[in-house]
């Protein structure tokens, strides 16, 4: 018996060792945002390559960052937002891309590559995936009923204390993402969205404390369901999330109508990127996956499913008209000019802003 067991073990060790020596094992570990891929994207990739994909999801950049910075996350492909990507590159978190293995690189939109290059010089570490804006979603019927002249095209819906006070009972929420709230509020007040001056943090805190009593909660994913169910009326949110809420409201058939606004004062534009951690166990498979994700039809299918604009210029012919012609997904050039990126902040400024944010939220 013992002998049998030992032979078995030896055989197993030999097989594993041989597998490692010949090529990478046929596995890929992907860590992506929740609700951020089409239903068949992964299955099609597995079928085509024979690589088994372990697909995991997260719902905040912070959680992803903590895993990356701790090291040995075990992931081969992750999807950080550009401002986080920037810092993680500086910390040595990502492997350089091997462009010779990325034949579909040419499909990417040149202007978007250029904007992402502000975070990742030379686009050496990341493939831009999807992009969107941080505006607000609102319940058309309820807002109309409470305030017929509501400024639905403007940040006043969230930042004008009088308007927010009027809408408060119906439920007004903010993202629990201080840097984006800060940038949007600075834009609304006509200041530099990427300012790092302590005076602007004071201004931010002072202004937010005026609307704070009327804010139901600060959360970054709960707003989807709550908007769709009519639990809340106005929510600062990411474009795709608000459009998912719009869709769910239609599906529920309760007569709730949700609309998304990119405010006229301008809003944060952000880019999510596919990148390979520097300690990824399967970098070759990761390159295969990135190249697959850059295929025009694959990228288009994802946009059609998640309602986010992709960074793939060649995919546009395959993107549904319903998505392509929706100005809240693919905004007009005039609107695009008003959008501003949210750049990475210094640690000192981050601490200042987090502290102000806690004071705003808790009053302490």
């Amino acid at each position: 018996m013992l002998r049998k067991l030992m032979t078995g073990c030896a055989a197993f060790i030999l097989i594993t060792a041989a597998g490692v020596a010949s090529a990478e094992e046929m596995v890929l570990n992907v860590y992506n945002w929740s609700d951020y891929i089409a239903e068949d994207t992964i299955a099609d990739f597995e079928e085509r390559t024979g690589i088994k994909v372990n697909y995991d999801v997260f719902d905040s950049n912070e959680v992803l960052e903590a895993k990356l910075l701790a090291g040995n996350s075990g992931y081969d492909v992750v999807v950080p937002a550009a401002s986080f990507l920037e810092r993680q590159i500086m910390a040595g978190g990502f492997a350089r891309l091997d462009r010779s293995r990325l034949g579909n690189w040419g499909n990417l939109d040149a202007t978007i590559l250029e904007r992402v290059a502000a975070h990742d010089p030379g686009n050496e570490h990341a493939v831009p995936y999807m992009w969107g804006t941080t505006g607000f979603g609102y319940n058309v019927g309820k807002v109309e009923a409470i305030m017929s002249d509501a400024p639905t095209g403007s940040w006043r819906m969230l930042f004008d204390p009088d308007v927010v006070a009027e809408l408060a009972d119906c439920g007004v929420t903010l993202l629990d993402a201080p840097t984006e709230v800060f940038a949007n509020l600075m834009g609304y007040l006509g200041r530099d969205p990427n300012s790092e001056s302590p005076e602007d943090v004071e201004l931010f805190e002072e202004h937010l404390s005026k609307i704070r009593p009327h804010i139901r909660y600060f959360h970054s994913s709960q707003n989807i369901n709550d908007l769709a169910n009519g639990e809340i009326c106005v929510a600062m949110g990411w474009s795709g999330d608000m459009l998912i809420a719009r869709d769910r409201a239609v599906e529920a058939g309760q007569g709730v109508e949700i609309a998304y606004t990119i405010p006229e004062e301008g809003a944060v534009i952000w880019f999510d990127n596919l990148a390979i951690p520097s300690d990824a166990p399967h970098p070759e498979n990761a390159h295969l996956f990135l190249d697959y994700m850059m295929e025009a039809e694959v990228a288009a299918a994802i946009s059609n499913y998640v309602f986010y604009a992709n960074a793939n210029g060649a995919s546009l012919p395959y993107v549904d008209d319903e998505v392509k012609s929706d100005p809240s997904i693919y905004p007009s050039d005039a609107v695009k000019e008003n959008l501003f990126a949210d750049l990475a902040d210094s640690p000192a400024f981050t601490r200042l802003l987090t502290r102000a944010w806690t004071r705003v939220k808790t009053g302490q």
């Binding site: 905040s60 912070e62 959680v63 960052e65 903590a66 990356l68 910075l69 701790a70 090291g71 810092r87 500086m90 910390a91 040595g92 978190g93 629990d176 201080p178 804010i215 139901r216 909660y217 600060f218 169910n229 009519g230 639990e231 640690p347 981050t350 601490r351 987090t354 502290r355 944010w357 806690t358 939220k361 808790t362 009053g363 302490q364």
Partner: protein, 291 residues
């Protein structure tokens, strides 16, 4: 003799492996400096090329906690919420444990099973279920509206009330089980003797049952209080933005500020302020009882 040494060594090894070693790692991070790297803090020990060892430790992070009253307030608020939750667990749990202890052995098995049964569902799912129950158009509000007791929904979600409901619900079994274990061992003839000597039931409960069940009360309260102080999930899901607890502050330091050293300092301070005094107290009390 050798076996005895071994038997004693096992729990100590356990303690060393799963408490002291992680604690040493956290302490090491708390004494270092944050920096943009992987991992995001400066190394505490550095071997020079000539084999010399440089140690760079600083208490800055602990001093930092004293500079801002945020941390104190968060500690106190966490302790307050945990204390109130523990009290409610005790008020609800004692009668339940008492009832189970006094029921027939067959009924007892079933009742204990019912107490443990919720653990078979994921903790997270159970907390999520409370969101459904407490929300504005949830069953409670809808029922009250239908009966006509209220005209508009009562806001229960995102309030401290919801946090108490969540914590009491989640930790109630940890109160009931040790209480039951104690109550079931109480000798009934003592109560009969009290009754025979003319003692009323309430008096008998206060002078006989309650003191005898005290160790169970203490054990149950600690089992509820200690994890409730550091609770993060329940206040994050059910609580409002103004529910300031140490778990949230720790999250902010770790994830938002990316300052692992300060986050570690917050964790260690929590240990020394809340957990160690309680454990020492418990130890002293146990010694007294033993003597």
């Amino acid at each position: 003799m050798r076996w005895r040494t071994f038997a004693i060594a096992v729990p100590y090894l356990w303690l060393l492996l799963f408490f002291l070693a992680p604690f040493a790692i956290v302490l090491k991070i708390a004494l270092s400096e944050a920096m943009l790297a992987r991992p995001p803090y400066a190394p505490l020990f550095e071997w020079g090329p000539d084999g010399s060892l440089a140690v760079r430790a600083s208490l800055q992070n602990f001093l930092f906690l004293l500079r801002d009253d945020l941390y104190w307030k968060a500690y106190l608020n966490s302790a307050r919420i945990a204390l109130i939750s523990t009290a409610f667990c005790l008020i609800l749990g004692y009668p339940v444990a008492y009832g189970i202890a006094r029921s027939s052995p067959t009924a007892r098995t079933v009742l204990l099973m019912l107490v443990i049964l919720p653990f078979w569902t994921s903790f997270l799912l159970r907390v999520y279920a409370w969101i459904g129950i407490l929300k504005n158009n949830g069953p409670i509000n809808n029922m009250l509206l239908a009966i006509g007791i209220i005209d508009e929904p009562i806001t229960m979600m995102q309030t401290d009330f919801a946090v108490y409901v969540g914590i009491v619900y989640a930790y109630l079994p940890f109160m009931i089980l040790p209480l039951f274990a104690r109550l079931v061992r109480i000798d009934h003839t003592l109560l009969e003797a009290a009754a025979d000597l003319g003692c009323r039931p309430l008096r008998a409960f206060l002078t006989v049952t309650l003191p005898l069940s005290l160790p169970g009360i203490v054990a149950g309260s600690l089992l509820v209080f200690i994890p409730a102080v550091g609770e993060f999930v329940i206040p994050a899901l059910l609580g409002g933005p103004d529910t300031l607890m140490i778990g949230r502050v720790l999250w902010d330091e770790f994830f938002a500020n990316r300052d692992w050293p300060v986050a570690s300092a917050v964790a260690i301070a929590a240990l020394f302020l809340l957990v160690i005094p309680i454990t020492v107290f418990q130890r002293l009390r146990a010694d007294q009882e033993g003597a």
